[in-house]
Symmetry: C2
Subunit: 465 residues, 2 copies
């Protein structure tokens, strides 16, 4: 009998421990890494058809994951696009809009502390949270990343052309009153005007260290590269190496950086439980006769950064998580950067905040290939003026405006209608053929406008000296 009990006890122990292990495994929360490029165009990667920029690591990321061809950001310039990504909300709701379009070094405001960010939400669930790179949601001490749910920060608080160098290092930099470009570690400036040629390498090291250090816990890393925003800088290993000139060198170094991160995840066996999202914050910056070859390419899309045409707001986007996200898939589902907030919260089992309206949707089913959703889209100019709307394949422009042009906006009545799935380049206006669709989009346009009450704009206030 003694032997019987011993055996029975051992068996029970085995069953119990296996239950515990199963529970522990099912409770193992996934990690998240968002890699955000700056001003990278829809057409600037090999896997999106660029003829001379070679991006083998991002191409492999696409082959092992899902590459999106109708993925949008919420704004056509940096600051509001980033605010929308982190909050899942349109700029017009979180206040990150205004005449100045983005935050500058002398801006008085930052992202409202009442906003829930992906970092804050995940931190509440015990995630380790880090940001490396460009913040651009406020640069006064109270608006730095650690005040929004991030445990650690390493990077520049705004765009890389907002120091003494300016946008065009090969030309004479315009004299400006900007302070020296500050490089932060957490809440402290550790250097000014850092050598930008080393930024991609230094940022990559920071991301890899963060992953290594936090491999035992669930983590969230937001890696916002300063590039290929001008001024362009590549390290010695990449400068002069691409066929596409300095712009290509910079993109190829960013591709290398992504490759390092995916390799680290594989080496640490975190690849089966980590979602990596790669995307750009808006279209390429093309200022005719100023940027020339320093600006990227929107590929088949019309127009660029600053525009409400597709080239301004549709971006390259790849989501990778071997075993979790459908591999070797090109998805033409319509999705937006604001969808990341509810999707990540859902995957991390964090309830959505119930005190603020969300503009993103949970796209988990898109990642597993179970759905091919078409979301309605709104295209805001300067983040507060509704210019266009998309419903299904149809897009109606109620106002257009050449990007970075002093010309006045041009209202259209009837609106200009395009079928984006058939005509992604917005070449063939088809409103006369489809008056009933024009009518439907007009109603949707008015319904959206009536449904969103803009808060006060935060981008325009300047620090008093």
């Amino acid at each position: 009998m003694n032997h019987f009990y011993k055996t029975a006890w051992l068996i029970s122990l085995l069953i119990l421990s296996s239950i515990c292990i199963a529970r522990a495994q099912s409770a193992k929360l996934p990690n998240f890494i968002i890699i955000l490029a700056d001003d990278l165009g829809y057409g600037d990667l090999s896997c999106y058809g660029h003829p001379t920029i070679r991006t083998p690591h991002l191409d492999r990321m696409a082959a092992e994951g899902t590459r999106f061809t109708q993925f949008y950001v919420a704004a056509n310039v940096c600051t509001p696009s980033r605010a929308a990504l982190l909050t899942g909300r349109l700029p017009i709701r979180n206040g990150i809009f205004g005449k100045r379009a983005v935050f500058f070094p002398n801006s008085a405001n930052g992202l409202p502390h009442s906003e829930m960010t992906i970092a804050k939400a995940l931190k509440s669930k015990g995630y380790r949270t880090g940001i490396v790179g460009k913040w651009h949601l406020g640069s006064k001490p109270e608006f730095l990343p650690l005040q929004y749910g991030f445990d650690s920060y390493f990077g520049l608080p705004y765009s890389n052309d907002m120091g003494k160098v300016g946008s065009f290092p090969t030309q004479t930099a315009p004299p400006n009153n900007n302070p020296l470009l500050p490089l932060y570690r957490d809440n402290t400036v550790i250097e000014t005007e850092p050598d930008q040629r080393l930024l991609t390498k230094r940022y990559t090291d920071e991301v890899l260290n963060f992953i290594s250090k936090n491999q035992g816990k669930p983590f969230f890393m937001y890696y916002a590269s300063p590039f290929p925003h001008v001024p362009l800088y590549a390290s010695d290993d990449f400068r002069g190496k691409s066929k596409r000139g300095l712009y290509g060198d910079v993109v190829e170094e960013l591709d290398w950086s992504v490759g390092q991160i995916l390799k680290k995840l594989k080496d640490l066996k975190l690849d089966k439980n980590t979602y990596v999202v790669f995307l750009s914050d808006n279209g390429p910056w093309l200022i005719k006769n100023r940027l020339e070859e320093n600006g990227g390419s929107a590929g088949p899309l019309f127009e660029a950064k600053g525009s409400t045409y597709e080239g301004g707001m549709r971006v390259p986007a790849i989501i990778w998580a071997p075993g979790l996200v459908k591999a070797n898939t090109v998805s033409s589902a319509v999705a937006t950067s604001m969808d990341l907030f509810p999707t990540i919260l859902n995957l991390a089992k964090v309830p959505l905040p119930n005190d603020q309206a969300l503009d993103g949707q949970n796209i988990k089913d898109l990642l597993t290939g179970q759905k091919d959703k078409v979301t309605d889209l709104v295209y805001y100019y300067d983040s507060d003026r509704l210019y266009a709307i998309r419903k299904g394949p149809w897009k109606a422009h109620f106002t257009t405006h050449p990007s970075y042009s002093p010309e006045a906006p041009v209202p259209h009545d009837p609106a200009w209608l395009y079928n984006l799935e058939v005509d992604p380049g917005e070449r063939y206006e088809v409103g006369r053929k489809h008056p009933e669709i024009l009518e439907e989009l007009k109603k949707a346009f008015e319904k959206h406008r009536a449904g969103v009450v803009p808060v006060a704009p935060l981008l325009d206030a300047i620090v008093e000296k």
Copy 2:
């Protein structure tokens, strides 16, 4: 001793037979399949960045082979481009040029019989040679494919809009004097005005049968799809299925067709010894306000079919031969369809003809990834007027002309200079910055013109009634 001799004899026999097997294997010539799309644009496949056309088989072909991003054809319209592909020679040398731009049903001429074609060259080496699809190098009996080295033919002798239907089946077809569209088997018309919705399926069956029938011999198959040239037709299985409208349906059926061919090669274990080349004959056909969504996309490139800008003459091109051609490779080497002639002859151990000047080069080393060649290129308008030249990354336009425009050509002195590797969309004219390069290209332009003596044009003569 008896035993000793028996053993020795057996050993010798073994050695001899293994030598014979090795010889037989090394002498096994590769098969070749050229799949030529009609008016498919640079940007029309998933793997070249199209947002809504899904081409999983061509994408996989690219992943298992080499995808070219700077691959050119010799002419910006059908007939001369096809003549150049099959002969490795510029239209201005083989006579396939003229005011009419292409052959029509009432054309009096065909490809000169003095021209060596890939088919004729391979046939001399014992290859079985077949063509399925669009010929377009002469439609009088003496100019049909069997008169140029092909053993078998199944297809339409010219474009699919040269029968009674015309280019725009959804509109009223313009009345025309064309004879009924003839479908040939070898030298015989077996049907007229065949149901074009079935053409891709029927052609695919013909290609698969040809492969099965000739699996024991070396073979060459030239499969020239009539699509996505207008009028567009897809079978019931594909019509209405793509997001890109009928154009997308047609391209997706062509993609299926390619998938069937690759599958057949794998099933018959011919995939390790068969080179498959997929390309288009010229850029997409975009006639503003006429073709609209029935025309394709040149992606990031400027202009289209009929133009000497990149959109007219740079095409999607994938070369596949597992184990022979470098896999998972995106090559930005500059190559042309005229390179196929000398490359295929070399791989098939057929000497090059020594009585005619060739414009193509052997690109075998590009296929194995050992070289990344940059060829000089010439861009002819209507195949006889030299408009532009490319040398390294630089392209100089000495004349430009909007495609399909009644406007007069515009000469440029100094020529318009673009760096295609940095600026594939030909947006930023940089001649003032690089006068020495302009000078170099001007010399190359004049040297080429002086070096080629045009033969008489063959496209313009009409059959007397």
